[in-house]
């Protein structure tokens, strides 16, 4: 029997066990979307997420500061009036555009806030998928001190 198949079987057995033990949920068992997080440019990420070219929408609000003094900690929030299934935060000029992605199950408000790193002044994109369609909001955040280098 070939080696790859063996290790695959072993992996699925381990994951199956973890899932049945309630340690990981089905969604977590889904692998981390490596391709999307390695996408360098906005267009790469849009393509991988299947977002095409999202329309700007006033229903999506991106809460971010105008000026971030410290690029290592930039508070960013997404709020929308749409029935969001997924949300994503992208930074145009970061080495990899996608910063974070969220799956919003029914019963959870379409509201997420987190903190991200920004290498330099850049446009920040908030993407929202609702009813199978992607919408977005854009805001430029000026960074005084970059958060990606040493």
């Amino acid at each position: 029997m070939n080696q790859q198949r063996r290790s695959l079987l072993k992996y699925s057995a381990v994951f199956g066990l973890m899932a049945s033990a309630g340690l990981i949920s089905v969604a977590q068992a889904q692998e981390w979307n490596k391709a999307a997080f390695e996408g360098k440019s906005l267009d790469d990420v849009f393509k991988i997420l299947g977002a095409g070219s999202p329309d700007k929408s006033s229903a999506v609000t991106l809460n971010a500061p105008d000026i971030a003094e410290n690029g290592a900690v930039v508070p960013v929030g997404i709020v929308t009036t749409l029935k969001a299934e997924q949300m994503a935060i992208l930074v145009e000029k970061n080495p990899s555009a996608l910063a974070a992605q969220f799956y919003i199950p029914a019963g959870t408000e379409p509201f997420v806030t987190t903190r991200i790193k920004m290498g330099q002044t850049s446009n920040v994109y908030a993407l929202v998928k609702a009813d199978g369609k992607w919408s977005m909001a854009v805001k430029e955040v000026k960074v005084t001190l970059g958060g990606c280098g040493g």
């Binding site: 997080f37 929030g77 996608l98 969220f102 509201f111």
Partner: protein, 102 residues
Amino acid sequence: MSDPMRVRAAENGGIVDVKILMKHDMESGQRKDAAGKTIPAWHITTINVKANGKDVLNGQFGPAVSKDPFLNFKYKGAKGDKIVVSWVDSKGDKRTDEATAS
């Protein structure tokens, strides 16, 4: 095992506001050490939040999320909901912490 997370959950008018502070270095893979060698990326990849056993949020993080990631979201719930937060990082390390909505 990594340091515990801080999880706060407060109910108000049928909406539970959850704030999570994870303890993680979130190495971006961009920084260099004193010898000029690139420090490899090491960051949380997936995060799952459950309330009373039901998923309320799933997230995926890239290395661009800040050190000691903070997360705030809201879901429809009640006082006393048992909230379980777990994350997995890019080295396969895991951490799970619990809180009760108040």
